[in-house]
Structures are given as structure tokens and as C-alpha cells.
Symmetry: D2
Subunit: 482 residues, 4 copies
């Protein structure tokens, strides 16, 4: 069986040699760093559940390339069931980690690159698809986690890549020879980059001929020479450096973001999947974005489940769970959360086959899904904060609870209903804080807003896909016009 | 082929003998009454499109009972594809009629009665299911339109059926003999009742033993003796009695509602499908409601398509279609409309088989679908009114436009862009008025709100289906509780 | 005392000679026409309450010109108390008529024209203000109702007045001599025009030099030769032509809209207040719009009060008034309604004096007020429809209720709680229908949306008034930038 | 002049002897502690601006007791202008600190206690009001900051104070003698308690006779023996312990929350203002809550101004400020923010005099104000996060920016438009993070939600103040009922 166990996954990262900076310092032992490890644990859950008989059918599938059993994260979707199962898998992982588990980016990237390179080869007679499929077979057999690296820093948003004062603000080809290419630039907001074995780089936007050096896609081992990672701050990140396990809200799981710098990095030709074919950069972005917008209908609903559960517990621990307004807010949270999931399912069930045979989501509905994701988690979070009460943001630290001097005050005065310990109450409130304001809010709020493209990007696609002309025809027909 | 043509359908209604009152008068020729006919035309579209090669695959299917080709409206769903196709069919019909086309109620009723009677027979050894299936074969072969009659007048909502001062405020069995039963009461808000061949009556709510006389289901020809129809008013209904075809906004299509009174009507035993088995009334209601809540994810999205198209036309005719705020509102309308559709698809794709083999939608997602339907059409309508401009509600009548005295003023001063005739502009604005304020608003707003149960009914089901305990477990696990 | 009684007001209209067309026919007796009279009754309420000791303090005040007691509708605001009292008066009238009572347009127009003409005279040495004040003294002494006529038909919205193919699509000066000017064009959406003694015409937008013939303001008796009124249709308007008083929902009160055509109408110079001073057309529009946007914080809150009351009654009559979700919806409706009122009060209390001494509202807050008015009445209406239940849109006509043949069925089956008559229940549901879908919806919805300018117009002013530069400075200071 | 300078204020706190615990440790030098000082700076701004000629008229006023010039924070409101000026003062301070400046609680408390004690004395012949006024004169003369301490921990929310298993979960009188009373319990969520000279304790809810020991109000020096403060955690609080001034987002200003424990503390009788008069606890709570709900219409609008400005800067620094969707979001943020302010102004302008002469806000409108505050800041924050882009939550730390090893990467790749330094861009994004996710989010989100009572508390008051009976009468009158 090609799949890694959770332990093998962690071990495989230990064997890698990342160049990571955190708070301005180089970090040697990434795997055991208390601020990094929780995000690794989230990815590890994608390995662990593949061995769980209850969930195996979602986490694994049969490779369309080799016929072997593989992780669904390494799979090319073959039909609507695959897409639906992907959404269900992501919801499950959201439920188990209450955070961003990062690995979907690579899954979405391979599916997008697969069909796009196929179409490139059809048009240009190139070999990108063949190369890609060779690498993909390795990926499946090694059960790699892959970072799908798309977003460039972008500098001045009003200017195209080649118009920027600093030409490196979009990643680009700076040199080329028969053996391969040399690239310079950076990818920003790289979720889970340090938990990945490979980086699959893609262009960030549709491009024109003058930007053709920026139309580049390739894959590299994540610890290749010349790649530097700079760790992103998250709200409340350093609580993980403190003693205790309450204040972080979610001691075991998390996500991370990194700025990934490519300082004249060499890419062997065999690993290059797009090289100046600028006409295809838009298609690649659109496909990747569509898959990734679908993803959020799963994972965010999973995190939402935890948040709803936490809010229900908070209400119970305070003795208000019978109040009609509390019950009503929990219904509203559930309603919004299930609407996200419904959109994720719908764009999956209405997918279509691409020329390479890889299956793609419905573009309109995937964008509708994501646009709801930019709104409803915020309202769910607001309702959770409503139910949680002010204590969530005013209560003392775990160290106060443990303090010999004043711990008894905390114990006594922050108790809710008699049957539940004060510590339990604090724990659930810290979890809500974590998702609404803390480290997980980066996944549940910021990523919901900007991940897979900011809301305006979805609106642009919806406008394009809305087929207003057909709708006008319907209206004319009813109104008796013409 | 068992299907009726559109003309045969109209003719079949001509042959019936309804007892209909409208504005206090008995109406003899229902079929040609200008206030009734448009609603008949909407139902007729379900027959017409079955013969349209482009849409036949949605409108017709193969009977699971006889293997014959039948209308999907007469079909027992056999799997998720059937449910998905139902939603697509309903959206199509909404697009073609811009109104409630009424026939889905019967489709939803037969599916609910089918599985419920099966379970009743399993428990009690009764013959309801067998009877029902016999009648259903007739229905399929005759391509009947059936009114699924569920909602009782209900009197004082704070009292159960048997607690009402007037015991007839819920329809009930008042007599019984070996040949059959006698029923008295009424069904309110009966959409499309007069366009139906048969009335399939169901109880309106879960009941307890003291209410068992109210737990009754049966089917009767719609023009049976003792049944009286009283036509419901709709906003702007009498514009259909005026000369011209502009002011009504939608001259050809519409819907209707009726109060249907059963004044001691005899029902032969062969046509009785529930007779005091009160424990099953709740299940029947829940099933019917779930199917019908799914339906709205299709039909309302179809009407929404017309409204979006009309708003886009109105903008174009006024010369504002390039304004960014107009484009943005059209995107928002599309986004909301597609969210409804997505929910309809999702509850379909996640359905499950019932003991009778008939397939049922996912209960939670179907209710989520409908709860969105109680909100988004209102916002879509608001945005349409925004784009339409004030003229929609201030412009003169068609008779003014045609008036020799002042028609030229209307023509001159209400012209928008030069290329489009004033009449075209008025037509599209009247269509928007029709859907947002006029006769079609009864379908697009009131029915979206209360059809298949008012929003609070959906919230109750969502609360029951939310599985808060499982969500609490997830939260405890993450928070380290226990 | 200069004030008219209600009866004198009606009589004064009887003495006028309007050229009105309705359904293509010329109407001779406007005052007693069943489709016109209710709107006249609404205006008459502004006269009636001036004699009501309880409300006199709101409806009347002391003229700043003459020191005489006058109607507040003829008053130039002298300070924040005047503006606050205006809002309170409008709320009261909304409560008493549940419709648009139309007379505020003239009040807002005189205040805008007063300060603008003052500034014109200051700049150009013209006599507009003096002329205006002379006419205003007459208006106050005669207690006239005045139509403030601003909105032109506008044709192609993408073109300026002079760019239109038909130069008359904005009202303009077509001839001029020493005695006066001749104007041609039309004013659309003229609320209450036919209930007015005088028409005070203003330009509709800011203009440039090429549009200077369109920069014109004047006043004329409403029945002047050459002026033709074409009555606008309203949803359900013809219910007023039917027998009975239930189905219209509000038998006594209403509003109307008219297209007012000026076919080469002569205006004596003494009555001209702007004549090609295009630089001031923008200021005049901005001032009028600000006053009128304030107005809606009063009148719509008043209509909202009636709708909330009607929804509460509907709940009571159905036996659901104790349900927590019903109570919660009534709270929400109240909350939204009071937010509108709060904005109306706030922009009044923060007003400022203009050079003529006339007091003006705060521009930013008045636009914020109106932008909320384009949203909240829609949500209040939605909630009212939720509480009302489906019966509102499905119940039979009053003629059915009165029918000897089937009236007893209606009586029996549409009864709610035992203590309340069926007719009462129908009456209150028809009132809700009237405000949400019927004739009053034109005032409560369409006018809330587009009256005093469509929402985008408010957004433009808010953008202009937001003072982003100052806010950026605040942020820089906190962030330690510079 | 009785006012303290900013320096005198800080010095006066240095002279106090608080018993404060933070992270389980006792803190000796509160004033200079990096996690406490910013909150002290916010309060200090209320002293500093009193000496600023530009703002003096808002920050200071004339005492109604002594005729001396005092801080408005020590003032008993004498009319609507005072209430309006209070709102304006609070908005100004929100703009200057971008955080909760804490001092309004005491101002709201003195106004509530003043009128309530007056009414207590009238009813019972007690001397509470006289005592209170004596203390108040001292407060005014010493320019004290006072913590209005209302909220008890409350334990099981389903039980009344006396029903709790632990009787101390609401603060209560445990002993009494002629010299005074002894109290035990705690006050939770005490905003700014440690920046206060005095604690003015009030009961937390309406009470019945069995709870009379809990009906207690008094004032004590904040550093009295037996009072222990336990510092509340805030999101990102420890960033203030790090080197640098960027990552905290707002280096100078903040707020704090504390759990304040009263362990059998003696209160001299002269300082007791309510002692078991349980019938008045509800009135005191209602009054305090109303004043404090008004406050949020000022301060949160002020913080909103900074957030809008920061979002506008972020857009500018990224080169997207010209995009129509960005401009539209800034308008929406402004609109919502001004709606809050409008509600604050409205409830002020419509206030009324209480029996003691102290002026009170309009109860209904103050609650409407606060209910909007529980919603709009969340939406404003969501829009700010939208405009800010993902970088806000993924960018590296200040230490990375300063790092010799990789600082140049940060500098290069996180640059936006050419004209603006990378550091400036990071600063403004950190400010947005601070308000939406960081320490200031506790003020801008949690406090907006729960401060002055959670949203349900506002709904209860709105329900009580809505006067539904009067609204029903209006509806009946229009509908022709009775």
C-alpha cells in the first residue's frame, strides 16, 4: 500500500531541510517547534484517518493512473462522486481539526494542472502533460503532501506583472538553458507550505504576451536550495509558546501561512509544466480557483460544526441552553453552515469532464459557494460570540487558574452551572475565541474571505457565468417583447 | 404513449364539472375565464414541454411501476438522479412561465403518500399502499394533474384539531361505513386545485390519539359532488379582465389559490389511504414537506432567472446597464438565485431510499433550501425594484399608451434609450411589477415564504436534524474536555 | 387664522380645473373619483390634524415671514427643533393614513428653493429670492398644498439633458420674452400632484453650460393651461372601483403618482425662480434631496407603525401571538423601524443654518437615513408577510364573504381565534397586503427605494461627505505612520 | 480648576496600591507594565483632550452642583445638549485611541445612581441621594476616573442570585453593623477597573425580596483592602511584551478587562447607596444600561472611523483605491458607522428629565442604538478584512522585517505601490488586525456585543417599549375594525 502512516508522514518531514525563519531567526527543528507542530498535526490527520476503517472510504480511493489505493488528496477526480466525496472528506477533517488542514491546496492544484497541461499539449504539441503525469505517479506512490503555490505578492495591484517597478513582484523566469529554467520571485500566503514535500508552482492570473516570463508552472521539492520560508504571524500565535494547554483554545491543531521566496532557483526541465504559454495561465487559474472554491464548502462547514458545538456547550455550561433565543441562534448557525455545504455539494454534483478526463466542478456554482463562504462564517462567528458571552474575551489566563494565590478565585467565580467544572467552561470559551479571534480565525475568517481568491474575484466569474443574455430572452418571451 | 398533449389537457378540464365561485358568483366556463386561464396555461406548459425534444428528458421518464414512458410529475423517484432532474425540470418551468405552475404539489404528494402508506401497511397489515399504487397506475396512465391538498384552515393556532370550538376547522371523518368514509372540512391555499384532475388529501400536521378523526388521507376526482372551490384574490388579479396585454405583466401565465370546501363528501374505501392512523400523520407531513421544500430550490430559481433577465433588460432600456452598481446588483441577484438552486440540488444528491423503494431527499438540506427561499427571493425582488426605477410603480396604464388623446405623451416621455420602443420598456417594467408586487408575487414572495410550511416550520426541522450532540462532541474533543 | 379646514381644502380642489387622464379617459370630477379620492383624503389629514388640539403643536407653527400661525407644511425651518418637529409630524401622519400623504414634497421644495435663490441673488444680483418670498407669503396665507416637481423623464440615463435625441426629455425653456418664459417637457413620478394647488418646478440634476436651458425653476397654479396629468397605475388600484371596503385594505387613504406634461406652458416672470443659472441646479437638487431624505425617516416610520400593529393583530387573530418567534419578529420590525426614525431625528438635530437663515439638515446623516429607508421597509414588509401567513395572498374576495351562496363557508373556515370575527381577520390581512403588495406598497416600497433619489444617489453623497482623508489621518496617527 | 492633567492622572495611579494579578503573578508596578499601560493611556487621553482648546468644549462642562468647570465624565447631564455632547465626546475619543477608553462607565454609573437614589429617598425617606451627592462633589473636584461595576459572574444563568449553589456568585451583603456593611462576591468584565480611582458598585439585575442581600450599591477607593484584580486575557495581548511597535497594531492605546474580587470588604455607611432596597435594583440597572447603550453610539463610531480610514489606506497602499467595489465597500462601512452615530444622537436628543433633575436618554432609542452596535461593527470589520486582503493575517513579524538575514526579502516582496514604504503598509494592516482580531477586537467586537448588556437584553427592552397596543389601534383604525 502506497500510503504513509501519520508517523511516517512526520518522520518524512524530519528528514527534510527547510530554510525557515520565524521571528527573524532561523528554525532548525521545525517538526517539534510548538508554533509549527500543530499545523503539522492537522496535515497528519489526513494520513491518520486514511487508516481509520470508519473514514477510509472518504480518505482513500483507487488511482486512475495505477489502479492502486491512494490518498484522495493525490487523486485526479474521475466523476461527480469523487467531487462529492472530496467535499465530505474536507468537512470531516474540518470537524477533526477545527482548523485549516492545508493539504487540499495540492489536491486542487494537481487536478487543475492535469487538465490544463493536457490542453496545452494538444495545442502546442508540448510534453507538459506527460511530464506532469510522471511526477504525479510519484506523488501518488509516495503519498506526498503538496503545496499548490499560486499567489504572488503582486505589488501595485493596478499594474500588470511586467509593469511593476520591481519585476520580481510576480514570480518569473530569469534564465533558461537546455537543462531547465531559473526562477525568481515569491509566493505569498502559502498555507501549509512547510508541511509539504513538494511545491507545485502556478501563475497567479491571466496574462498577456508582455508578461510571458511570468507564465510559469513547475514542481520542486519543498526544501530545494534557494527557497526560503518566512513564517506568518497569526493572532494569538505565541500562546502556543506558553505553558498550559487551555489558552491556545486548540492545543493540538492549527494552520500556518508562509511567505516563500525563490531566490534564483533552478528547475530541471522535467519538472516544468508551463513555460511562457501565457494564453493558458488564465485557464489554469480559473480551474484551480474553481476546485479550491468548492473545497471551502467542505472544510469551512467542518470547522463550523465545531464552532456550533462549542457555542452549544458554552450555552449549556452557562445554564442558558433552554432559552428560545439561544436555540434560535444555534438553528441559524446550522442553517448558514449547511448552506455552505449544500453549495459545495451542488457544484460537485454538477461537474463536467475536461479533455484530459479529469473531472471538474461546475464553475458558476463553485463561485457561488465561495462567495457565501466570504459571508456566512463571519455571521456564524458573530452568533457564536453572542452565545459565548463577554467572558470569552475578559477571562483570566490559565496561569491565573493554576495560581496558588488566586486560582481559587478564578475557580469559584467563573463557574457556570454546578455540574460542570470551571476549567471545562474556560476550555470551551477559549476554543470559541480561537476560532473567532485567535489562530484559527486566520483560517475561519481571513481564509474564508481571501483564500482561493477574494470575493470580488468570485463576483467577476459569476458575472461571466450568469448568462444574462439567456435570462433576458426568457424575460422578453414572458413580457411579449418582439 | 400515456402522455397528454397540451390540448388534450385543456380539453380534459373542459370535460370536468367544477363548482367554482369567484367574486361571489358561480363560474361556469372555468377554462376560458380570463382570471383562471393563465394559471391553466402554466400547468399546460408541463404537458407541452414533454413533447419538446429539447426538454423531454427532464419532463418525462420511465415509470417504475409499468416501465412506460410517463410524465415526471407522475413519477416515484427512484434515485438521486430523479431528484436532481426534478429540480432541473422545475427550474425550466419557472423560466418558461415566470409563475407557479402548480403541478409539483401532486408529484410531491404521491411520493410522500407512497412511502408512508408502505410503512403503515408494514406496521398494521393494512392495504393502503396497494390501493394507492393501483390509483397511481391510473394517474400515470392518464397523465393526471393532481392537487396535493394538505393545509387545513387551522382556526386558532394555539389549539389542536380536536380542541377547536368548531371541530371542522381541520378536515375530518364525520361518518364511515363499509363502502367508505364521509369527510367534512376544508383545505386552504390550494395552489392550482382547479387545474387538477384529482385531489389527493393529506393531514396537515402530526397528531395525537384524540385527533385521530383528523388523520385521514384519500383521493377524489377534483369535481366530485360536495366539493366547492372559492377562488383566492391575488394582487392585481383583475388586470386580467381589462383590455390589453401589457398591464398584467405576464399575459399568458399565472397561478391561482383556492379555498376548497368538503361539505360531507363521500370517499369510497378504495380511495382511502389513511383512516385514523394518527401516528403516521407526522411522517406523511414531514415527507411531503421535505419534497416540497426541495421543489422550491428549482421553481423559484426559474422565476428568479426571469426576474434577473427582466431587471437586466430594464437597465439596458434605461441606458444604465454599464454602471458598476447595476452590474453588481445583477451579480448579487444571480448569486442569491444560484444559492437557492444549489440547495435544491444538494438535498437531491444526498437523498436516501425509503422502505417502499421510493427515494427521498435529505431532510436537513431540504429544509435549509426552503429557509433560504423564505429570504432570498425577497432580496432579489428588492434589487429588481432598485434597478427598475420608480417608473415601474408610477407609469400610466396601457389604455393611456393607446389613447388617441394622450398616447403620444406617454410614448414620448416614457421612452428610454433611443433604440428601444416605449412599449417594450413598459412591458418589461410591468413584468417586474408582476413578479414583485402583482399576481406572480403571490408565487414568488408569499409562496416562497409560506408554501411547504412557514419559515418557523423549517427551523423546527433544522433544530431536530442539527445533531447538536455530535457537534458538542467534536468541540469537546478539540477543547480537551474529558 | 390662515389655515384651511379639511373641508375647505377639499372644496378648494373642487374649484380647480385639472386636465387629468386615467385609463386613457379624461376625468371631470377628480375629487369624487374613487381611485383619486383616497389620496386626497391623505392630504386632507394634514389639514384636519392642524385643528386637533392634541397634534396642533406639530402640525402648525409661527411663520418666520409674517408671525402668523401657519401650517408647518408651509414653513421655512428656523432651527433644529423645527426639523425634529417636522419628522415627528410626518411620523404621525404616516400613522394616521398608512400611506404617502404627499404634502411634504412641497415643504421640502420651498425650503430648498428659499436658500438656493438667496445664494443666487447674492451671486448674480437677481431677484429670485424676493419673488420667491412674495409667492411664499401667499402660499402660507392660503395654506396651499404644493407639488415639488423635480424628476424629469430622463430618457437615456447615459446622456445629459442636451445630448438626448429628443430634447424635451428634460423639461426646458423653449421660448422667452419680457413677460416670462415658455417651458416644455414633463415631470415624472409626481406624487400627489393632483392634490396640489401649485406646482413648484425644479431642475432634476446638476448641469453644465450646454444644458443651461434645462436649469429652470418656477411655480404655477396646478391647473394652468397646457399642463396635462396622466394618472399612474398602482398595484391593486382598481379594487377601489369595486363594491365593498375590505379588499382595498385601506379604504380611506392612499397616494397617487402622475406623469405631468408641460406642453409649451407660459410662466410669468414673477413666478420664475431660476432661469439658466445652471451652476445652482446642483445645489438646489442637493438641498431638496437632503430635506426629502430626512422626511422618510418620519413618514415611513409612521407607516411602519401601522404595519407592525397590523402584524401584531394578525398574530393575535390567529392565536400565535405568544409564540417566541412571533414576538421576536415584532421586536425586529420595531427595531428596524425605530432605526429609521433615529436617523431622521439625528440629521435634524445636527442641522445647520444656510445663508438665507433657513435651517438645513445634516447632509451626511440625511443620506444615511434614506439609504436605510431603501432597505429596512423591505425587511419589515417581509417579516409582516411572515407573520401574516399565506392567507393574506390566498383568501377570497369580500364579495365571496358577502355571497349568499358561499359566504357561510368563508365565514366558517377563515375564522381564527374564537373571539374575533372572520371579517376582522380578513380586514387586517388585507391591510398588510395593501402595504406590502397593494396600492400602499408603491409608497412603502417603491417610494422608499426611489423617492428623493435612488440608493445609488445616496451612496454618491455619502462617499462625498465621508471625509476619508480625515479618517486616514486618524488611522495613520494610531498606526505610527509618518 | 479642578481638572487633572494627563500627567497628574498617571501620577495619581502611581500613588495607589492595587492588588493585581496577571498570568498568575502579582504585579507591583502597574503603571509601567507594558500590557497595562496602553489602557491607561487611553484613559489619560480623556484628561489630555480636556486641555486641548479645540476639544475642551466637549471634554469639559460646568458642574450642576458647584458651578465649577469639570470634566464631562464627572457630570450629571442637565439636558439634551449634554447628552448629545457626550456622544460627540465619545466619538472623538474613539477616534483618538482606536480602543475602549473606559471612562464612560463611571459617567454612566453616576447619572444612573443619581436619579435612582433620589427616587429611593423619596419613597423610603433614606439618605442615599444626599450621601451620593456628597461623594459626587468629591469626584468632580478630584477629577476621578470611576469604574461603574455592575456585572456579577452570575454562575448558572437559569437561577436567581439566591438560588445559586454558591451564594457568592452575585455580590452580596454578608455582614452589617452601624458603621457599615461587609460585602463578598465579584464583578466580572470590569473594563478599565485598574485605571480607576474609585469603584462604584451596582446590582446587576432586577431582584425580588428573596434576593435582597444582593441589592447593594456603594463606592470604594479602587485599591481598598480585600479587593483583588485578576487581569483578563485579550487576543494578542502579549505582543505588547515583544520588542518593536508594529505587531501590536496600536502601540500606544488599548483597553483592559478584569475580574474584581471582593473578599469580605468593609464599606462605611456613608459610601453605601443601596442596601437591600431590591425594588429599585431593576430601575438602576435599566437607567445605567440605557446611558451605556447610548455611549456605544459614540465610541464605537469613533473606532469605526479609524477602521474605515485604515481600510482606505490599505487599499491605497495596494493600488486598488480606484476600484469601484473598494469604493463601494468604504461607502457601506461609512453608512453603517454613521447609522450607529445617528442612533446615539437620536436617543440623546429625545431624552427626558428624571425626578432628580438629571437628564436621561430615550429608553427605546438607546436600546435600538445598542442593538445596531451588536451587528454593524461586525459587518464593518468584515468589510475591512475584505479590503485589507489576506496579507493582514499571513505577513511575517516585525522581527522578520528587521532581521539582517531575511529583512530584505520582507521589504522587497511585501511592498505595495512604489510610493509607500513596506513598513507603512505593514503598520496599517496590523492596525486593521488589531481592531478586527487583536486586542482592540475585544472592545470593537466583544464589547459591542455584550457591553451594556447582550443583544437579548436590548430586545427585551425594545419589546417592552414598543407599545404594540397603540400600534394595533392605529392598524384597526385604518383597517376599519370596530
Amino acid at each position: 500500500m502506497p500510503q504513509k502512516t501519520k508517523e511516517e508522514y512526520i518522520q518524512s518531514l524530519r528528514n527534510m531541510d527547510f530554510s525557515l525563519y520565524l521571528f527573524g531567526e532561523k528554525i532548525d527543528n521545525i517538526v517539534d517547534h510548538p508554533m509549527v507542530r500543530p499545523s503539522m498535526n492537522s496535515v497528519a490527520m489526513t494520513y491518520e484517518l486514511a487508516y481509520d476503517p470508519q473514514h477510509e472510504h472518504l480518505l482513500t480511493t483507487t488511482s486512475s493512473l495505477t489502479g492502486r489505493k491512494i490518498s484522495r488528496f493525490c487523486h485526479l477526480h474521475q466523476g461527480p462522486e469523487d467531487l462529492v466525496n472530496k467535499v465530505k472528506m474536507l468537512r470531516l477533517l474540518g470537524q477533526k481539526t477545527a482548523s485549516c488542514f492545508q493539504r487540499c491546496v495540492g489536491m486542487d492544484a494537481i487536478n487543475a494542472v492535469d487538465s490544463t497541461t493536457f490542453q496545452m499539449d494538444m495545442k502546442y504539441g508540448t510534453e507538459y502533460h506527460k511530464r506532469f503525469r510522471r511526477w504525479l505517479a510519484d506523488m501518488q506512490d509516495n503519498d506526498w503532501t503538496v503545496d499548490g503555490a499560486m499567489t504572488d505578492p503582486k505589488g501595485d495591484r493596478g499594474l500588470s506583472p511586467s509593469e511593476q517597478r520591481d519585476p520580481d513582484l510576480y514570480l518569473r523566469i530569469v534564465d533558461e538553458n537546455s537543462a531547465g529554467i531559473v526562477v525568481r520571485g515569491a509566493k505569498a500566503h502559502q498555507t501549509g507550505a512547510l508541511n509539504s514535500h513538494e511545491l507545485l508552482v502556478m501563475p497567479t492570473t491571466a496574462m498577456r504576451s508582455e508578461d510571458k516570463d511570468y507564465a510559469v508552472s513547475f514542481v520542486l521539492p519543498a526544501d530545494s536550495a534557494g527557497i526560503t520560508y518566512i513564517y506568518g504571524r497569526q493572532s494569538c500565535d505565541t500562546r502556543r509558546l506558553e505553558e498550559g494547554d487551555i489558552d491556545s483554545g486548540n492545543a493540538r491543531f492549527g494552520g500556518h501561512e508562509a511567505l516563500v521566496v525563490f531566490d534564483d532557483v533552478f528547475v530541471p526541465r522535467e519538472r516544468v509544466f508551463m513555460c511562457r504559454e501565457y494564453e493558458f495561465s488564465g485557464l489554469l487559474v480559473e480551474r484551480f480557483a474553481a476546485y479550491h472554491r468548492q473545497s471551502y464548502g467542505g472544510c469551512k462547514a467542518g470547522v463550523g460544526d465545531v464552532l456550533i458545538g462549542a457555542a452549544a456547550l458554552a450555552a449549556e455550561y452557562s445554564g442558558v441552553s433552554k432559552a428560545s433565543h439561544i436555540k434560535d441562534k444555534l438553528v441559524e448557525m446550522t442553517h448558514l453552515n449547511e448552506t455552505l455545504y449544500a453549495c459545495g455539494l451542488a457544484c460537485s454534483s454538477q461537474g463536467h469532464s475536461t479533455p484530459s478526463g479529469t473531472y471538474c466542478v461546475d464553475l458558476l456554482l463553485a463561485n457561488v459557494c465561495k462567495l457565501n463562504v466570504t459571508r456566512f462564517p463571519y455571521e456564524i462567528a458573530r452568533l457564536a460570540e453572542d452565545i459565548a458571552g463577554g467572558l470569552m474575551a475578559t477571562m483570566p489566563s490559565e496561569r491565573d487558574l493554576r495560581s496558588p494565590a488566586i486560582g481559587h478565585y478564578v475557580e469559584k467565580y467563573l463557574k457556570g452551572v454546578f455540574e460542570v467544572g470551571t476549567e471545562e467552561r474556560l476550555r470551551v470559551l477559549r476554543l470559541i475565541e480561537n476560532i473567532t479571534l485567535g489562530t484559527a480565525a486566520v483560517g475561519y475568517r481571513t481564509e474564508s474571505m481571501h483564500g482561493a481568491g477574494s470575493p470580488q474575484a468570485q463576483r467577476v466569474v459569476i458575472a461571466r457565468q450568469a448568462n444574462l443574455e439567456a435570462k433576458k430572452s426568457l424575460a422578453k418571451d414572458i413580457a411579449g417583447i418582439r
